[in-house]
Point group: C2
Chain length 237, copies 2
DNA sequence: GTCTATATCTGGATAGAC
DNA sequence: GTCTATCCAGATATAGAC
């Protein structure tokens, strides 16, 4: 977990961050242990994986709120009773998924960007880290983006706080870069929004990019060009 | 309807395109006359307006599929029976809204961009037209963007066709501009996606922009800068 | 830990009086 | 054209056998 230094190399990232299927699912189980009735870890992790995969599939087709638990039961091959041994309630299922994502950011990139790097490198690390994580967990982030409506007040607030937190982080980086004379930015707010759009675009329109065989590394190249044109004082094209 | 020439002047656009509240609602009624049981036009237009406004409000809060028609009845002050004199079914309500948007594009900007303008002006007209229309109908477009999942197969297909159609139009403009030596673009597909993201961003994140008192004209200025940096051969900053 | 059967409720939709 | 009352399908959630 100490090797990936913000390089634009997806294979390297995948080998250093805990983003394999089994790592993800077991991290998910760890975070929500207390809400899962089933005791045996191995069984629980496996079934949670099936449940979540099916949830993403069905939500993509009809939306989460139109997905009935009978649908889910059929898709997973589990009975209604079984499902409830894992999820508590339909609403809680959505919440667990939402709560998991900030947790994954912490695991994968937060420690990477806390060092005292040059400010432009720091921005690169943030951008690349975001794209890499969302590439590995694309269905998760897509789900979270589309299905924010169905959350309890508390979790909605948490989602909003995360949003604003990431905006604040970007703005801080831009401020610092400007003070150091590395960045220019006529409008900081717009620069932040632009970067966020580019980051979100990757998982929201993932299907279109795959159709055109665009890799996440190429996508990073592209958006770094756009961002640099906005921010860099010495933008040598 | 023949005066607005792609200028970045919102007031001018509003005075030439049929985008006032009453014009919009009566265009909506015209398009869907046949599905509305109530005969008297004046009554129908007014009530449709209340219904749609309430639908947007409630969908924003809980999502369309979690909005019950009883909720809607309460919010509009109409009874269940009355509602059904206007909407046919819940699903049809969503469909009518979706089908209305391409119709509005036709009314507001299609004839503007069919002329034989210089290619860079044509692109400007497309960009400005989109932002202006989506500014006037922001809740409509936001609704359509978030609630695509709940449509019948046919209307889903229609939505997808519209998407691809607008991409094709942009790509065509870029191609032509490149042949004329006005545009450069290392990757046409990415240029199209970038433009589309910027256009969508305006109505998807409308609230954030309003908070920062960003007008649609300023937004256009900003995204035209970004687009020009990508496309223009002679980009004199 | 998993299943089937069932209790309970909510939501879409309609009939028919006014 | 609008309202109230009602029907019924389908959803969440649970109880209890295995």
């Amino acid at each position: 977990m100490t090797q990936w230094q913000g390089e634009n190399n997806f294979a390297l990232f995948k080998s250093t961050a805990p983003v394999s299927d089994s790592q993800v699912c077991s991290a998910f189980y760890q975070q929500h242990k207390n809400k899962v009735a089933v005791q045996k870890e191995k069984i629980a992790v496996g079934k949670l994986k099936t449940i979540i995969t099916a949830t993403f599939k069905l939500s993509n087709k009809k939306g989460f709120s139109l997905m009935s638990l009978r649908d889910l039961s059929q898709e997973t091959g589990m009975s209604m009773g079984s499902l409830y041994a894992y999820i508590g309630s339909k609403g809680q299922l959505a919440e667990m998924i939402h709560q998991f994502l900030p947790h994954m950011f912490d695991l994968c990139i937060v420690e990477q960007i806390q060092g005292s790097d040059a400010i432009d490198l720091k921005l690169k690390k943030i951008v690349r880290g975001h794209i890499f994580v969302t590439e590995c967990l694309q269905p998760w982030f897509f789900f979270a983006f589309m299905e924010t409506k169905h959350l309890s007040k508390n979790v909605k607030q948490l989602a909003k706080d995360n949003e604003l937190g990431s905006e604040a982080m970007l703005e801080e980086v831009i401020n610092e870069g400007e003070q150091q004379g590395i960045f220019k930015a006529s409008n900081h707010f717009m620069a932040v929004m632009l970067i966020k759009s580019l980051l979100q675009g990757w998982y929201v329109k993932h299907g279109r990019y795959k159709q055109h065989k665009m890799s996440c590394e190429n996508y990073i190249d592209f958006i770094e060009t756009v961002i640099n044109q906005q921010l860099l004082v010495n933008d040598s094209i």
